[in-house]
Symmetry: C2
Subunit: 252 residues, 2 copies
């Protein structure tokens, strides 16, 4: 059987330990091409670069068999650029991550990691975002290997439903298994940290904490808090279909 | 009746003709606070600023009654910052735009305009994104006024269903009316424009064209192409609920 062509990207930048681990795992599964941002892109959502130009550089970071390209753009840029300028065809799979930190619940919306997986889905090939619930740079990614491998093999074997990509979050420490879930309803409550620059100007850092607003037991938050990895199918048809009939009654 | 508190933002920057027109209209409806980016943020998707700091400046651009703040961040930043640092409470409505160019079909995902409306929805108040299908800086926004006013008044009177915000696109020229639609299935096909810098380095501009992949007659693309404004209810629970039972059968 021909090895699948696997595109790898992330939002923490091409040198992040999370993507290095993902490359290691994928090298045992397929032919790997890495096209990832040259700088951290956390919180970039589904941004693409329209107002400035893109640079691409072929680089070697370790002695693995993968090919690597470092891009001056966002994760979604990386997927578009890879397909059009590097691979010359759609890959069999795009995996993004492993993110240093959670992308569960509403974080999926802000996530650069997931934007790459979603972009893959839009362009018509399977996409998976992987995240570890540990924001530290030297997080222990070895614990993610079994989960990442299992989900990847299932996607390669079964394919994904049309219009669906996967958001996989992995808790810290021993993982009990994988649960298929829905996105928990929740928000990030902001707290701006106001400071004064050495030049006397006020500036702000965005900080915040997550509030889970969902009491269902079938959510990613519940799975993760019980020691399971969560797998949420994510769609990019954003239409709230259930609201259409009601809105048609409006006086428009 | 107390005037509603209306937050206005956009992604083309606080001086864009589209937002100036929106301010003019909203001044006749409520008490207006403008919190908008100090630079163009098109294609920023749901990006938020995590890796750099934010500046906020109170400014006066015209002699209208509105208060205005110019922010060094994305549209989603503007909504978060407005609620936490400027308004001190949730506004009664957030309107974003009027965007110079379309946000129909899959463009909703890349749209900075819509990210502000979605952020409003996440934070629990009604959000509407308005876009005119004309990318030129001096587009004729006068034609949008009746549509913008009608949709805004309906939202203020009826409220929005939970978890739903509105994506309103307005065609150029005479508008026949407003149609409630679903997001058309489509993609942007990329074409990278490769150039060489004066310093001999290759760089790329992202360009592309839209391909509609949907043959349904209930989509935003069909409405817009027939001369109607399109109104799509947009949700931010991205779970593909219909896929969950199938994925549970996987060998995970």
């Amino acid at each position: 059987m021909k090895k699948p062509l696997i595109l790898i990207t992330n939002d923490d930048g091409i040198t992040a330990p999370g993507i290095r681990k993902l490359i290691q795992i994928m090298n045992t599964i397929g032919e790997v091409v890495v096209v990832a941002p040259n700088s951290p892109q956390s919180g970039m959502g589904h941004a693409i670069t329209l107002n400035s130009v893109l640079y691409s550089e072929k680089i070697t970071i370790d002695d693995g068999p993968q090919q690597e390209y470092s891009i001056s753009g966002t994760p979604a840029d990386c997927v578009k650029f890879a397909v059009n300028e590097i691979l010359g065809r759609k890959p069999d799979l795009c995996v993004s991550g492993i993110n240093h930190g959670t992308n569960s619940s509403i974080s999926v919306i802000y996530s650069g990691t997931m934007s790459a997986a979603v972009e893959a889905g839009i362009e018509g090939f399977p996409g998976i975002g992987f995240s570890l619930l540990d924001t530290s740079w030297d997080a222990d990614f070895s614990q993610t290997e079994a989960i990442v491998r299992k989900v990847t093999m299932q996607v390669l074997e079964q394919g994904l439903p049309k219009g669906v990509v996967l958001n996989v979050n992995i808790p810290k420490g021993k993982v009990k298994g994988i649960k298929v879930c829905r996105q928990s309803k929740g928000i990030w409550a902001e707290e701006y940290d106001k400071r004064k620059s050495p030049h006397g100007k006020d500036y702000y850092w965005l900080t915040g904490y997550f509030i889970n607003q969902d009491d269902g037991d079938d959510t990613d938050e519940v799975a993760l808090n019980s020691g399971y990895a969560s797998l949420v199918p994510v769609q990019f048809d954003l239409t709230a279909h259930q609201a259409i009939e009601n809105l048609k009654k409006w006086n428009l």
